[in-house]
């Protein structure tokens, strides 16, 4: 039994194909999703509008999309360094939490104070916190050969419990009726909205700057080349003079720092205090953002926007169409798989096998 068809790499991918494949993937997912929505007795056209059009055309929703995408872009940009080097940092969520904790700690210490230095100090503390927390799995891998996949993931749970401990104990708001939360940050420790009446803050600019910087590093610097080389063939990279251990540690530090920074931006921009569960799984979502963006910084920005649109569309769909969240999740998974399939078909050509018996060479 030979397979029905084989894939062969396309020597050249035309720009038209590049544009058309994601569009076709979207169309395929919409067709399947539309059938399901119709089966549930709702209008597929309305679902399409609520899910994918309104989050982009309605100014309020568009701002919310950018806001939601901000931490995803930052974390995913950091993860690109790891993933390009084939280092598997699965624990960005933990680094995000520890970053938020360190930055939030500064906000709590300086509570009631004013000064333009407070916010930068928080960001620095957050980046350092995330960096230090990412250093753990990196060092354990380099020194003891322990898989970073396991350690980084396990440390997420530890960070979650550490946050829980702090906001119930030492950092609890003394006037908060003993609820698990810190004081609400002072004005100087908050990232304020850019536009009146909206919620979008300067974090988006930082996130875009980080993505741009990453793009430059990957394209223009020796370090960027070393990361790619190390990811492709670690041993060969070693021969070429790039130290494997050093690259492991560096990519983890960068990734941790950006996740930590995202954590501070989230607590200073959105939440305004420390409380359990401010991670919301963003660190995990960012993994899919990184891969969906094909490990490129620009791709990550686009992918983060796609995910944000879907998340916000899912909320609107619950309100205006009374569609269950589970259906939105199902559709989101389906759409992502369609996009990934499309990406494959862009890179490879399908060649159907005839009756001929081919033996692998």
């Amino acid at each position: 039994m030979t397979p029905l068809f084989v894939l062969t790499p396309r020597p050249f991918v035309s720009p038209l194909r590049r544009v058309l494949t994601p569009v076709c993937a979207l169309a395929a997912a919409l067709a399947i999703g539309g059938v399901i929505v119709a089966l549930l007795g709702r209008s597929p056209a309305a679902a399409f509008r609520v899910f994918l059009v309104e989050p982009l055309t309605d100014p309020w929703a568009a701002q919310e999309v950018l806001l939601k995408a901000t931490p995803l872009v930052l974390i995913a940009t950091g993860l690109l360094f790891c993933f390009r080097a084939s280092r598997w940092n699965i624990g960005a969520e933990g680094q995000f939490l520890v970053g938020g904790l360190c930055g939030g700690g500064i906000a709590i210490l300086t509570h009631g104070m004013t000064g333009a230095w407070i916010l930068p100090a928080m960001m620095l503390a957050g980046a350092c916190g995330g960096l230090a927390y990412a250093a753990l799995p990196a060092l354990l891998r380099v020194r003891f050969g322990i898989s970073e996949i396991l350690t980084s993931l396990m440390l997420v749970y530890v960070a979650d419990l550490l946050l829980d401990y702090l906001v119930r104990g030492p950092w609890r708001d003394p006037k908060g009726f003993n609820f698990p939360q810190s004081v609400a940050f002072s004005d100087a420790a908050l990232l304020h909205p850019l536009l009146e009446g909206g919620r979008l803050h300067a974090g988006m600019i930082l996130a875009l700057a980080a993505a741009l910087a990453a793009a430059l590093v990957f394209r223009r610097t020796l370090f960027g080349f070393a990361i790619a080389a190390s990811g492709e063939a670690p041993r060969a990279a070693n021969f070429a003079g790039f130290n494997e251990g050093r690259i492991t540690i560096l990519v983890f530090l960068i990734s941790g720092a950006l996740a930590g920074l995202a954590g501070v931006i989230e607590v200073a921009g959105q939440v305004g205090q420390l409380r359990p569960g401010f991670g919301q799984g963003l660190g995990f979502t960012a993994i899919i953002v990184a891969f969906l963006g094909r490990l490129s910084p620009l791709g990550a920005v686009l992918a983060a926007l796609v995910i944000a649109v879907l998340l916000i569309g899912a909320e609107s769909a619950q309100v205006s169409l009374k569609l269950p969240l589970d259906l939105a999740r199902f559709f989101m998974g389906l759409l992502l798989i369609c996009i990934l399939l499309g990406e494959s078909l862009e890179r490879y050509r399908i060649r159907f096998r005839r009756a001929e018996k081919e033996r692998p060479a």
Binding site: Y165, R168, F177, N178, R275, P276, L325
Partner: protein
């Protein structure tokens, strides 16, 4: 002054509604849930309340909900409801407090109701339920039913509501059985059936012959039944999960409150308030008292009646904390509501420390 402005706002709203009487514009009521509606616990019970609104005002209201909204990212979801014409919005978890207040400032003509919080505004009311009243009753039942004098308590997370529940339970048990001991395990999650069931098993292995829980799933009850031990239901009547081993359930019933507040908006009488009530107003209900001797059943029923009548209360003074200090009595002959809402100490006789 604040009152008057609230009334005016509500009045204006009512006018707006009746003005559109020809088109019969429906009042839109929105809900934000912290869990999935299918959790069969906290969010499920709130959703039952939402359905009760639809049933109570056929043709006059339209309800929507957004489920599984993370507390840290709830502002957008709440605003989503406010900007799509919902005039009454229930945010049903403590963590929605600050986001609710923020959105309420932006939408002064929308009425908000925040569950279990303590910050209000002219268009933000708060409401909560005295679940500890029910826990006092089941404490008495457990105190009488235990043979090993050891009762296991599966706690979710150490917030004041859970602490007050543990205290009320223990005081109830001790009032009928001075030798009773309770053992507590924290799952550190509200909902993780597997871990909840492991916690219940660990407690039974340490000698507990009655299990009670302040987590969301029926898992501890089921595990107790599997070993022939007795337990209680949580949030809804869980009889069907352990018909022979359930003693009773503490039921959250938000329906009467939700219907009342919706009616208030429809009639233009809504105003900001803080409501903290329990058995007397039916927000907390007890399931049937079963699988127990008649005298225990009578004790439970009498306690329930006395609490409703106001003559009994879990926290009648003097209340003595674990460290021996007597708590100041701020509510007449009992602790005040504020003292209960912010409770962060165990009462004397409970072993163990509150996780900090």
């Amino acid at each position: 002054m604040v009152r008057i402005s609230t009334r005016l706002a509500a009045f204006a709203l009512a006018l707006g509604l009746s003005g559109a009487a020809g088109a019969q514009e429906k009042l839109k009521v929105g809900f934000i849930y912290v869990g999935p509606v299918g959790d069969f616990g906290w969010s499920y019970q709130h959703d039952q309340g939402r359905k009760a609104i639809e049933a109570a005002f056929p043709g006059k209201v339209e309800t929507s909900f957004i489920e599984s909204v993370p507390e840290a990212d709830s502002e957008r979801a709440i605003e989503q409801l406010a900007r799509t014409g919902h005039k009454l919005i229930f945010t049903t978890s403590f963590g929605y407090m600050e986001p609710t207040l923020k959105v309420a400032k932006k939408y002064p003509n929308v009425m908000f109701e925040h569950a279990t919080g303590y910050k209000r505004d002219r268009n933000v009311a708060t409401y909560s339920a005295k679940f500890h009243e029910g826990r006092y009753i089941i404490g008495k039942i457990a105190g009488r039913m235990t043979k090993t004098n050891t009762i296991g308590y599966v706690g979710a997370v150490p917030i004041p509501e859970v602490i007050a529940g543990i205290n009320a339970f223990y005081l109830g048990a001790k009032s009928v059985n001075p030798d009773v001991k309770i053992k507590i395990t924290w799952v550190n999650e509200w909902f993780n059936p597997g871990k909840e069931s492991d916690a219940a098993k660990a407690l039974m292995d340490q000698g507990a012959d009655i299990i009670t829980q302040h987590t969301d799933s029926p898992a501890p009850l089921q595990q107790a039944a599997a070993r022939g031990k007795f337990a209680f239901g949580q949030a809804s009547d869980m009889t069907r999960f352990a018909e022979k081993h359930i003693l009773t359930s503490i039921i959250d019933d938000w329906a009467p409150y939700y219907v009342e507040r919706t009616r208030a908006v429809l009639e233009g009488k809504w105003q900001s308030q803080d409501v903290f009530d329990g058995l007397a107003k039916g927000k907390v209900k007890m399931g049937p008292y079963v699988n127990m001797p008649d005298d225990v059943k009578r004790l439970a029923e009498e306690t329930e009646k006395a609490i409703i009548a106001g003559t009994a209360d879990p926290f009648l003074c003097p209340v003595v904390a674990q460290d021996g200090r007597t708590i100041e009595c701020k509510g007449g002959n009992r602790l005040s509501d504020e003292q209960v809402v912010g409770m962060n100490y165990f009462v004397q006789g409970i072993e163990g420390t509150i996780p900090k």
